[in-house]
Structure formats: C-alpha cells, structure tokens
C-alpha cells in the first residue's frame, strides 16, 4: 500500500481505491484538536478508547488505547487445569462463547490426539453455528445503531434471544456456556432440541430477508457504508485480518474450508465473498454483506447437520473425555473460524502438569483492530464510527 505523506498537505481527506490513495479534500486546515473517543463512548462497542487528532470533523490520526477490560486470561490459564480453562474462553468473545470453546477444545484435542464421537462433532457444529448467527445478529444490529438505525437492532436481538434460549436449553447457560469440553460435551442435547432448531431455521429465514430489506438495502445505509474504510486484500492479509473482515476484502479464506476441522469437510456451504457489484471490495458494506450472507450459510450448515446427525442411542457425550487431561510435552497452535475471524490458541504443555505451561489466545478482534490507525486516517467522525462498527470488535476478546 502506498504510504501517504500528510506533512506538507495540511488537512486531507482521503479514500482508498484498490491500492492507491486518492485525496478528496485538502487545504482546508484548521487548528488541530485532540478528541478522546471513548472509553465511555456509545459506539466504541465497549471500552475502547480512540485518541483522535481532528481537523474539523476530519480525523488525521487515531490511536487506539486498549486494555480497559484486560484480566490476564493467559495468566489465569496457567493456574488452572485444562478443562477449567473452558469457562474462561467463554469470556473471551462473550458473544460467541461456543465458538471460543470449540477452538480451545480442538486445540487441546490436537495435542492429546484423541478421537471424538461423531455425534459430539455434529452437536458442536450446530451450537457453534447457532452462536455464529447470534453473534452476527449482534454485529449487524449494533452496526445499525452505529449508523443511527435503532429498529434493526431490536429485531436482531429478538431473534438472538431465541438462539440464546436454545443454547440455554442445550447447555444450561445463556452466554457463558462451558458446554464444549475437551474431548466431548457437557451433556447431550435435550430430546426435542433438534426439532426446535429446525423450526428456528424455518422461522429465521424470512427474518433475514426482512432485516435485509430494512437495513442492508436501505439507500441511506448503503450510502453511509459504500466505499468507506476500504482495505485492499494484500494489506488485509499483511495485517493478519481473518474472518468476515478478510472475506470482505475479497479473499476467499475460511478456516472451515481452508484448514478444515471437525466435520466441516463433509458439509456443503459456500464461503461468501463480495463480488464488487453491490459494494466496493474491502469497504464497510462488503464486510456487512459478508456477515449477512454468512448467516444464511450457517442456517444451511445447521440444516445439514440435523439431517446427518447420528442417533443418540448408546451415546455418552463424555465418553471420550480423558479422566485426567495431561497432554504429552509439546506445543500446538490450533484455531477455529470464529464469527470475528481466526481464534487461535497456542498451548504449550510440559508433559507433567495438568495445567498448561503457556496458553496464548490469538484474538481475531485484537488483530483486526490493529488496522484501525491506518483505516481511520483522513476519515470523518461518522465514517470512523462506521469503520469501528464494521470491524465488529468485542472488547472481551481484544483485551483478554
């Protein structure tokens, strides 16, 4: 990407087209003002602080400050047994606890090298995809709020509520599940669960269409997001972006496809990437669209899983769980596709202890957010809000 020297230009407002920087406005410089956005700002999605240097409404530089929600997850992990890390992983990305647990579980299982019953895998995928939908609903809904549309947010939360109810029914908790354990599941799903999930899929399909009509297709929404915060593919990769962010930049990269885990290779689903017709590739609208499309794909995955689900006869969800989890000495880097991107766990075991020697969570939001400084240069404050919203950060995962 072309670096832009703003020193001699005074105030500039720029936009990016593929990999060149285009200057929209210049020589309108006023006195620069430091604007502290957050940590109690309504649209920083939690406790992020952005220290912006502004020139009028144009942001010349934005420096993110993190750590307001830091609780040293990694130190906590070093002090508890392997299974007891799972509830902590819920609290990383608290909007997608199942996915975080899933990533941790497959990482430790890779280190332990154990075989998982097939039904467990199917249930894992169902709950993870349900949680992905719930998470994307929050992302889309709050994005609406960031841009001033309040109603889609509540429609999203109405449907998310049903998903949380389903997951509560399965796992016993609404957000912090501790359901996917290393080597299995806490419980099998209730008897009618799959039927109800199927009904949910039927119920939810028209709702996504309505949401699309209300928000995604709205001209004001499109105008607010189209061509804003463009991130070219190569820069996105260099920044380590993953998940819908990377796909929004047009890179067809989904860990469920490209580094398959669990039963994803058996399932038929698309990896949606923007084609540049409805949106500029890499802009906020692309990222939003990818999330909206992914919800449909997740619904497809759930339907397939329900159809292919092995019977519950003689099934014990804890049958493969080792009595005492003490992996052989070694290191592993395992990862899963979270709603926000690649959640990786680096785990080092000394082979003696039942506690991990080192457990590092590679948080997708943390990495995605690191591009903030670059993305926000020369944008207007409303666009900055749109960009933060499209990155869809969860501070629980950023600060860990």
């Amino acid at each position: 990407m072309q670096e832009l020297d703003t020193a001699g230009l005074g105030s500039v407002r720029v936009t990016r087209q593929s990999d060149t920087v285009v200057i929209l406005e210049k020589d309108l410089a006023t006195e620069q003002m430091v604007l502290a956005m957050g940590p109690q700002h309504p649209s920083t999605h939690g406790v992020l602080k952005l220290e912006c240097l502004t020139d009028g409404e144009v942001i010349t530089q934005a420096e993110p400050y993190l750590g307001y929600l830091h609780r040293c997850f990694e130190k906590c992990c070093e002090n508890v047994d392997y299974p007891a890390v799972v509830p902590y992983t819920d609290r990383l990305d608290y909007l997608a606890g199942m996915n975080s647990e899933f990533a941790y579980a497959i990482t430790v299982e890779k280190l332990l090298d154990i075989e998982i019953p097939r039904r467990v895998e199917f249930i894992r995928v169902i709950v993870a995809e349900l949680n992905r939908i719930a998470s994307h609903l929050v992302a889309i809904g709050t994005y609406g709020i960031d841009l001033g549309a309040f109603t889609p947010f509540l429609f999203c939360f109405r449907d998310r509520e049903i998903i949380l109810g389903l997951l509560e029914w399965a796992s016993g908790a609404r957000m912090l599940y501790n359901y996917i354990w290393v080597g299995g599941l806490a419980y099998d799903v209730p008897a009618d669960f799959l039927k109800r999930v199927k009904e949910f899929v039927d119920y939810f399909r028209p709702k996504t269409v309505e949401l699309c009509e209300l928000l995604t297709k709205n001209e004001i929404f499109v105008k607010r997001t189209l061509g804003i915060g463009i991130m070219p593919a190569d820069v996105a990769i260099n920044y380590g972006w993953s998940g819908p962010m990377l796909r929004g930049s047009g890179v067809k990269w989904d860990l469920r496809r490209n580094d398959p885990y669990s039963i994803y290779p058996e399932l038929d689903f698309k990896v949606p990437v923007p084609d540049g017709k409805d949106s500029v590739i890499g802009d906020c609208l692309s990222r939003h669209l990818v999330r909206a499309w992914e919800m449909d794909e997740s619904l497809k995955i759930i339907e397939q899983c329900i159809d292919k689900m092995p019977s519950a006869e003689g099934f014990n969800s804890r049958s493969a769980i080792p009595k005492r989890i003490r992996p052989k000495a070694g290191e592993v880097y395992g990862r899963a596709e979270n709603p926000r991107g690649e959640l990786g766990f680096y785990i080092e075991s000394d082979g003696k202890s039942t506690k991990p020697l080192r457990c590092k969570a590679r948080s997708s939001c943390f990495v995605n957010l690191s591009a903030m400084k670059d993305l926000s240069m020369g944008q207007l404050i409303p666009d900055l809000v749109a960009i933060i919203g499209s990155i869809d950060i969860v501070l629980g995962e950023v600060d860990r």
Partner: protein, 172 residues
C-alpha cells in the same frame, strides 16, 4: 484417518519450505522440529531474524504472507524469553511453519518484524507488555494491555503482583 494424512502432507510441505530457508541461512537457524502439531525451527542468530522474516515473506516459493500468531514465552530454566511466530501462506501454498526466537531474560532484545508483517506490531507490543523483552526497530514499543506505569511483566513465571497501584489494592 484422512485427517491424519492431510496433516502429514502439510508437514512434508512445511519441511520443503524449511529446506529453502535453511539453504539460504544455513547455520543461522536450527534444524526443523518436525512434529505433527506445530513444526517449528529456532532462529539461532537472532540478529538475522528480520532478514529471515523478509526472505520468508518475499521468496516466491515461500510467500509466508500471513502471520497467524506471535506468542511470547518465558523459559525460566534457560534464563531466556522468546517469541513463537506462526506463519502460513494464505491462499497460496499449503505450508505452515512456526519460528522461535529467543533472547536473554534480562534486558534481552529481539529484532522487530513489525515492518514485515503489520500483525507483529501489536503482538510485539503485547509480548513486551507481558514479558519485557525489547523489540529493536519497533515503531512504538510501549505497553498495550497494561497501563503505562504498571510494574513488572505479568506473564513471567516469577511475576509477583504489585500491592498498590495508584492507591488501589491490586491482589484480589
């Protein structure tokens, strides 16, 4: 079964990628630890780390364009701190490699690769924040998750939490 095959295939590719790096840098890097879970090699001559990184990123047969993760690690037994970087070639090749770089525990420094992969910028800041190794050439090496005036490096194995922070009792 099939899954196992896929892994070993990618391990072969990783070994091939390693041999390209080894050809160029020879004794500056250690032998490949070809385990199934995370094949890695260690950079012995840490001063060459940035060059190795650039080579890994730009070599047409390597193209490690994606840094998945950078983990700081404390090795109290060896009196060392280290980082572990997981690389892969996103959407181009199938190989994956991890690289370990170590430095002295007290006042040790590692060359920064933030100029090679933007991902490393914040991750190196985090490693510095948590372990206290320096990254030479980093654009702005300061704490990221802990407050600027925090004492100590929390993820070191011998870390003792401070009692008071601006008059607030720290240990819970």
């Amino acid at each position: 079964m099939e899954e196992g095959k896929v892994i070993s295939q990618s391990l072969q590719e990783s070994a091939a990628a390693y041999s390209i790096i080894h050809e160029k840098f020879g004794s500056a890097i250690s032998a490949l630890d070809a385990n199934e879970t995370m094949p890695f090699f260690e950079v012995i001559d840490t001063s060459q780390w940035t060059e190795i990184a650039l080579f890994m990123r730009d070599h047409p047969k390597l193209k490690f364009n994606y840094m998945a993760c950078l983990t700081g690690v404390d090795y109290p037994a060896e009196e060392k701190l280290g980082i572990i970087c997981n690389f892969e070639s996103l959407a181009l090749f199938n190989h994956k490699l991890a690289v370990k770089v170590k430095c002295a525990r007290d006042g040790g420094s590692i060359p920064s690769v933030a100029c090679v992969w933007h991902t490393a910028n914040w991750h190196e800041r985090e490693a510095y924040d948590m372990f206290g190794m320096l990254f030479t050439g980093h654009p702005e090496l300061k704490r990221i998750l802990c407050p600027d005036d925090w004492v100590g490096y929390p993820l070191r194995k011998d870390y003792k939490v401070q009692d008071q922070y601006h008059g607030i009792k720290v240990p819970y």
